[in-house]
């Protein structure tokens, strides 16, 4: 922790600053503003999300699923990467969103955009209610709690087959054309456009959120949760708020999946989904907003390719990638990239 050079409390910092360093720091507001500026890497990333339309038009259905999962991983990043809440049951909120959108459609209302909003509300309310339990615990206890909550919900959905269709899944889900004009086509053109647009809009909201004073408080909780009360922070209140927001976003992701695939099965609530999204986020890198989307893209493309190569043993390769990433890039793909960039900068 303590840097060895200059670790002493040098006289200079107790007295007026020496002239060499006095002019150096940027004006505080400019500096904070500069932290928020869009970087080149971000622009490249979003430009790259348009490439599937041109380069791999036959993979748009997969691309749409990736965008949906990327949104789901983004919502997990808000609580795990920015607040240190480890969840193994985040699919609960994804599932609530998916079933909400699915049921709305089954009952005759299949307008996609308002469906997303209703799903976000339902998942958000469920998130708010459960946040009162979540905010009281940390670390390992959270893993058990979130896992337990998701298992409970899945079994409730399973037994309430009059509502959910049980293990047969929800039948009769349709999605009306977007704005009454753009029909969902077989090739996933509309689906990917729609999912990508929703991902981008929610991403903008999340990006603004983490650069707000509230976002600063979340980083404070991640950095040192025990210090927060000593600066007057109501930590549990912050955790409840972000958990609710993350749940609503997960609900939007779930609704997107239900609308673009026009099916909802119990799998949306499953442990596999919670575990997968956690793996994708760690693969991409936590606490950077882009880790979820990048992890989702890498993981799902790899899964698609490996299962094509060898339908039986493809999890072998996934396992190999995971071990390699954790051993070689402890901060995930983005963490690795940024340390490579930092080293390159030092050399220049």
């Amino acid at each position: 922790m303590i840097p060895d050079s200059g670790s002493r409390l040098s006289g200079a910092i107790m007295r007026p600053q020496d002239p060499a360093s006095a002019g150096a720091p940027a004006a505080p507001r400019d500096y904070l503003q500069a932290q928020i500026r869009w970087r080149w890497g971000e622009i490249v990333f979003w430009a790259a999300t348009l490439l599937p339309f041109v380069l791999t038009p036959s993979y748009l259905v997969l691309a749409s699923q990736i965008a949906t999962t990327a949104l789901f991983a983004l919502s997990l990043d808000l609580i795990l990467g920015f607040c240190g809440i480890v969840s193994l049951g985040h699919a609960a909120y994804f599932g609530v969103g998916a079933y909400t959108a699915g049921l709305l459609s089954k009952w005759g209302y299949s307008e996609p955009l308002s469906g997303l909003i209703v799903a976000a509300l339902a998942a958000g309310i469920f998130g708010y209610l459960t946040s009162f339990i979540i905010a009281r615990f940390r670390h390992l206890a959270l893993i058990m709690l979130t896992l337990g909550l998701a298992l409970l919900l899945q079994e409730i959905a399973n037994s309430a087959s009059w509502l959910t269709g049980g293990s047969d899944g929800l039948q009769g889900v349709h999605t009306w054309p977007i704005f009454g004009r753009f029909r969902f086509d077989l090739y996933g053109y509309t689906a990917y456009t729609y999912s990508l647009a929703v991902l981008f809009v929610v991403f903008l909201v999340a990006r603004r959120l983490i650069h707000s004073p509230f976002g600063l408080a979340l980083r404070g909780i991640r950095e040192n949760a025990t210090r927060m009360p000593a600066i007057g922070a109501v930590t549990r209140g912050h955790i409840r708020t972000i958990y609710t927001i993350a749940a609503a976003i997960a609900g939007i992701a779930g609704a997107l999946l239900a609308q673009t695939t026009e099916t909802v099965s119990l799998e949306v609530l499953g442990f596999q989904r919670s575990a997968d999204v956690l793996v994708m986020l760690i693969l991409g890198g936590t606490g950077r907003l882009y880790g979820g989307p990048i992890g989702a893209a890498v993981y799902m493309v790899a899964r698609d390719q490996f299962s094509g190569l060898n339908p039986q043993y493809w999890y072998f390769w996934i396992g190999l990638i995971l071990i390699a990433v954790v051993m070689l890039l402890p901060g995930g793909i983005l963490g690795g990239l940024s340390s490579v960039l930092a080293r390159a900068k030092d050399k220049l």
């Binding site: 670790s7 910092i13 505080p28 904070l32 603004r208 004073p213 980083r219 922070a233 912050h238």
Partner: protein
């Protein structure tokens, strides 16, 4: 000295059979500069934990001004002006100093409730954070992540974070812990320079510093207040010499 800023009335706390606070009575007049001393394990940090709400007393009351705050959570006490620092740095390693102090200011002004506006739009909060850092001569390093700051600067940041909450009573747990002796006096000058409206209680082992910066000294031994008095009374007290200060007092007398 005028009214009472902070008081402890009959505080008791034990962990199993280990008594860490025994019938502690304490009165800090507004604007006071008090030192809390005692051998290792005498319950000094425990007393701060009890007063700031990080520990619950088994019995006894804690009064801030005239209000009973015994039942309040730590963050509620901070909002009422009772603030502490930590003996072992408790900072935000990956935030910059400016971000850390801005966060503390935003918690006070409740700006942390908004999530749709950029931090950089909070002009008043940022300027206030910068002014606090500037008063502690930390502006040169304020854009550096805290973990890269020199240790002594981190100790100052502890105080900066506390100042951002606008304390009325400040409890400093060994503010100069780990700082070389010749520099700790400088750090204490910064503390002595705090507004007289702030009541200060500090834990410190160096008797020379205690003598220079405290108007009164409270001696804690085995979770009990052994004696309280002016530095000279404490220096002359045979009880204190016997249980605790024998060698250190001799040194201070020379210094």
């Amino acid at each position: 000295m005028s009214e009472i800023a902070l008081a402890a009335r009959g505080l008791n706390k034990s962990f199993g059979s280990l008594v860490v606070a025994s019938d502690i009575e304490l009165t800090l007049p507004a604007g006071a500069r008090y030192a809390l001393i005692g051998p290792n394990g005498s319950g000094k940090t425990t007393l701060i934990n009890l007063m700031t709400g990080m520990l619950r007393p088994d019995s006894g009351r804690i009064m801030l001004d005239d209000a009973d705050i015994t039942e309040l959570a730590p963050e509620q006490r901070v909002k009422r002006g009772l603030v502490r620092t930590f003996q072992i740095n408790a900072l935000f390693p990956h935030l910059t100093a400016l971000e850390s102090v801005t966060l503390a200011v935003c918690e006070r002004t409740r700006a942390v409730r908004t999530w749709w506006r950029k931090v950089s739009a909070y002009r008043l909060e940022i300027d206030e954070a910068y002014a606090i850092l500037s008063a502690l001569s930390l502006t040169a390093v304020c854009h550096r992540p805290v973990r890269e700051m020199a240790y002594g600067q981190q100790r100052l940041l502890e105080i900066a974070l506390a100042m951002a909450t606008r304390p009325r009573v400040l409890l400093l747990d060994e503010p100069a812990a780990g700082v070389p002796r010749e520099d700790s006096a400088e750090l204490f000058k910064a503390i002595a320079g705090l507004s007289r409206e702030i009541t200060v209680l500090f834990i410190e082992h160096d008797m020379e510093l205690v003598f220079r910066f405290a108007s009164r000294v409270i001696v804690l031994v085995g979770g009990r207040v052994l004696v309280e008095g002016t530095p000279h009374e404490i220096a002359a007290d045979p009880q204190v010499r016997a249980v605790y200060l024998g060698r250190a007092m001799g040194k201070a007398a020379h210094g």
